[in-house]
Symmetry: C2
Subunit: 384 residues, 2 copies
């Protein structure tokens, strides 16, 4: 297996995109290639993620993007794994390059749903859950994650202020991120006064619907000896699944897929939890960040809430978490999220994160969940 790097990455500003998904995807791909100092012709395979492209009446996006990049002959496919789509795409790119099948591969994630009304957008999102047993019976993601939050609260006494601390921290980080959907800080009071969406989750517990696009360029070390920017060495690229339906699981206080993917990833990387300098984790809801930190093994079960209120996960804390602002405040354009986590880590490693720069960026982890954890990707990055 060849040492494999992220040699370039880029994200647009999440929020409302005036242009189409295909345009945004091509633009951000060119930007990532530019950061990598690669000519598009060096790309051997393109992995696109665009779960809900059908909302733009467009499937089969790969050839359109490759044509826009001037590389129509290059093979492509689209990768879907609900909200973990572009991290699943990154895994395929890693396998292709590490396995020696291509010397460089492009990963692009894009989503545009803002032209739909909210109900329609919700119904697209909900397709990541189980239609027959969940969605058809009225469950959407706020309700499903609220169930997890209730279970967590019941078992560990998780307090409203702990969930709120996640929101306050991530909004503070996003306020310093030019790619973020929400670029203003909130106070705990604002959080506590915000309306309940699905008890116990309030408005500020929930990530927004965002449009957005992000791209990652993966290359073999041996073929890119003099990268244009400081590359991320892919120390681990691990994925896992779990029972899709929450009602069939034996635990509701965490996501089994995160645990198995994390175990795989740390084994692959040959690293301990304590060696990670910062992490981008999947905080589609505030409770998801707490569960992620516990499932990933950074904190014992029930321990992440207190650590958060004590500031351990702030930018200058023991383990900075979601310096980008996370899904919560940077935004969550479903298929772009996984790639955008990597774009954040790339900026941090290159010292380009300006006001949100973390103090130490030698080892970082990206954690991306599909739906309520039917799928999970964990990537660990280091320096060359």
């Amino acid at each position: 297996m060849r040492e494999t790097w992220v040699v370039g990455a880029a994200s647009n500003r999440f929020g409302r995109m005036p242009e189409s998904g295909r345009e945004a995807a091509a633009r951000v791909a060119l930007e990532a290639l530019d950061v990598a100092g690669l000519d598009p012709k060096e790309i051997g395979y393109t992995f696109v993620s665009n779960c809900f492209g059908i909302a733009e009446r467009q499937a089969h996006l790969g050839p359109l993007i490759n044509t826009a990049l001037g590389i129509p002959d290059v093979p492509s496919c689209s990768i879907e794994s609900a909200c973990s789509s572009s991290s699943a795409g990154l895994h395929e790119a890693f396998v292709h390059v590490a396995g020696g099948f291509e010397d460089a591969a492009l990963v692009v994630g894009v989503e545009k749903l803002s032209h739909l009304d909210t109900l329609n957008a919700t119904s697209y999102f909900a397709m990541g859950a189980d239609y027959a047993f969940e969605t058809r019976n009225g469950a959407t993601f706020p309700g499903l994650y609220a169930t997890l939050a209730h279970a967590h609260r019941q078992k560990f006494g998780t307090r409203e202020e702990e969930l709120g601390a996640v929101a306050v921290k991530n909004h503070a980080n996003a306020a310093l991120n030019p790619h973020a959907h929400f670029q203003k800080p909130i106070t705990l009071e604002t959080y506590l006064r915000s309306p309940v969406i699905a008890s116990p989750l309030r408005l500020y517990d929930c990530c927004p619907f965002s449009d957005g696009a992000a791209a990652v360029v993966v290359g073999a070390r041996e073929k890119h000896p003099r990268p244009s920017a400081e590359p991320l060495v892919i120390r681990a690229s691990a994925r896992s699944g779990s029972i899709a339906d929450m009602h069939d699981r034996t635990t509701l206080t965490g996501l089994p897929a995160t645990r198995t993917a994390a175990d795989k990833a740390f084994r692959q990387a040959g690293l301990e939890r304590g060696q990670v300098d910062f992490a981008e984790v999947h905080d589609c809801f505030t409770i998801a960040e707490l569960m992620a930190l516990e499932d990933l093994g950074f904190y014992p079960a029930g321990g992440a809430g207190r650590a958060t209120t004590e500031g351990e996960t702030e930018r200058d804390g023991r383990l900075p978490v979601n310096p980008s602002g996370g899904l919560k405040a940077k935004g969550h354009p479903v298929s772009a999220t996984g790639a955008s986590q990597v774009a954040e880590i790339f900026e941090q490693f290159n010292g380009r994160a300006a006001g949100r720069q973390v103090p130490k960026a030698e080892i970082a982890l990206a954690h991306n969940v599909g739906a309520t954890g039917g799928s999970c990707s964990v990537h660990i990055f280091g320096r060359r």
Copy 2:
């Protein structure tokens, strides 16, 4: 790179599925595993294709299928490349196994659109084309392929009887295939009397909308020394793309992506065109089979029509083509098609194709196209 085999494959009967896509997919996956003599627990990764699952309000199908198979922890993702989705999935499975990342991987393709009205189903199919420049302006696949047929006719004098000969042959083959959507032969007279759908294409030039599911199990030779059935050695797994929009191409008498994928595949396999014993090619329309035979290099440009009328591509001809009945008559459940081509080749290699058995099955080729050739997969299989 490890020698990699198809160790099992299965298809349901194409046509109208009463059950949901997820049920059909799980059932056919179990059948393929059974043929392979593998326990689901031996699967390391699942690649699902289900382009239009959204018509069933269900994305993120992998965890549902893996849960049904009793392997919820196994990672999965969905692969979309329009009509070449499950051959793109097979390529990922090949890369994972040949590269040593997994010892066995599952590929499942499924599509169900029969619960929609025809107009709605057409609009789903059309999402594989370019919405901004083609579909929005009224182009759907019969019209796009009719344009190709006109160009072919104008340059090579392709006759109606030559297109008809493809239809007659493929219906005759499908009549002997218990998995086929259409199981009755047609005459050239029936073909010539059928209504024009998009000039010059008649009803019997067009493949049907079909529901269907097919699965392929891929395994490393070294891990499956004693396979339950005669495996297919994957001699080549090659993919390519081309300019997505027909109006930007320099040729309309063939598909550039087929040519580049075929060249790659024959190079990979170290084989000549003349060594192929039979082929399953992408005949979504009769003209597509003629173009495929020319683009793959089996016949010179403009030469496949005459060869077809002379019986060369019949089951007992020089090069049997689409012994399964092809998309044309076996049916075309978009995401299941690529996997079903492999299921046919698997049956042929194992001498289980009954009345449609080809005389020689040592080397076979599968050719699967996305849309009007924005994507193409070519696989070449041999014996161990």
